[in-house]
Subunit: 106 residues, 2 copies
Amino acid sequence: MIAQTPQPPYYAVIFTSIRTEDDHGYSEMAERMVELASQQDGFLGVESARNEIGVTVSYWRDLESIRRWKEHSEHSIARRQGRNEWYQAFKVRIAKVESDYLFERK
Amino acid sequence: MIAQTPQPPYYAVIFTSIRTEDDHGYSEMAERMVELASQQDGFLGVESARNEIGVTVSYWRDLESIRRWKEHSEHSIARRQGRNEWYQAFKVRIAKVESDYLFERK
C-alpha cells in the first residue's frame, strides 16, 4: 500500500480535499479513477487516506504524463462532477520528488 | 484543514506509513510532533489522514528548514521510537512544490 516508486526524480500530485455531504456515486468514481489512472503511461503509484480531510498522492514519471492524465476524457468528467457535487474544497500541488527513504521492519 | 501555503516554490515532506498494533503513546506523540513542527522556522503547514495507511504531508520553506526539523532533538527521539515501536513500514519523500491550485465552493 506504500507505493513502490522508482529512484527519484519523479513527480507527485498531492490532492487534499474536503468532501461535501453528497455521497452520490463518489466511492465508485474514486475507485474507478484509481483504476484508470493506474493504466496511464507514466503512472507510478498512488497512496490515499481520508478522515476529516482526504490526502491522496499519486506519483508520475514526468509533467507530461500528469498533463495527459488531467486531460483524459473520463477523468475530466469526474473532475467536473467533483467540483459540482463532491468537494467542498480541494487543493492540488504538483511537486518534484528529489529524494526518498524507505523503512521496513524486519 | 487544507494547509494555507504561500506561492510556490516551497517543499513538501510526504510521509506515508503503516502502523504496528502497538498504540502505546502514539497519539500523544503524533499530536506533540505536529505542535512542535508548527513552531519551527520555515514550517508552512501540515495535512494528514489515516485509514489502512497514513499519509501526512508537511510543507516547508526550504530544504534547510526540513533538515533542521529532522535533527531537532525531541523529534529525533520520536523518530527512533517510531522505528522501534509504532511503524511497520514508512516512506519519506522530499519534494519541491512547483505549482498549486485551490478550489473552494462558493
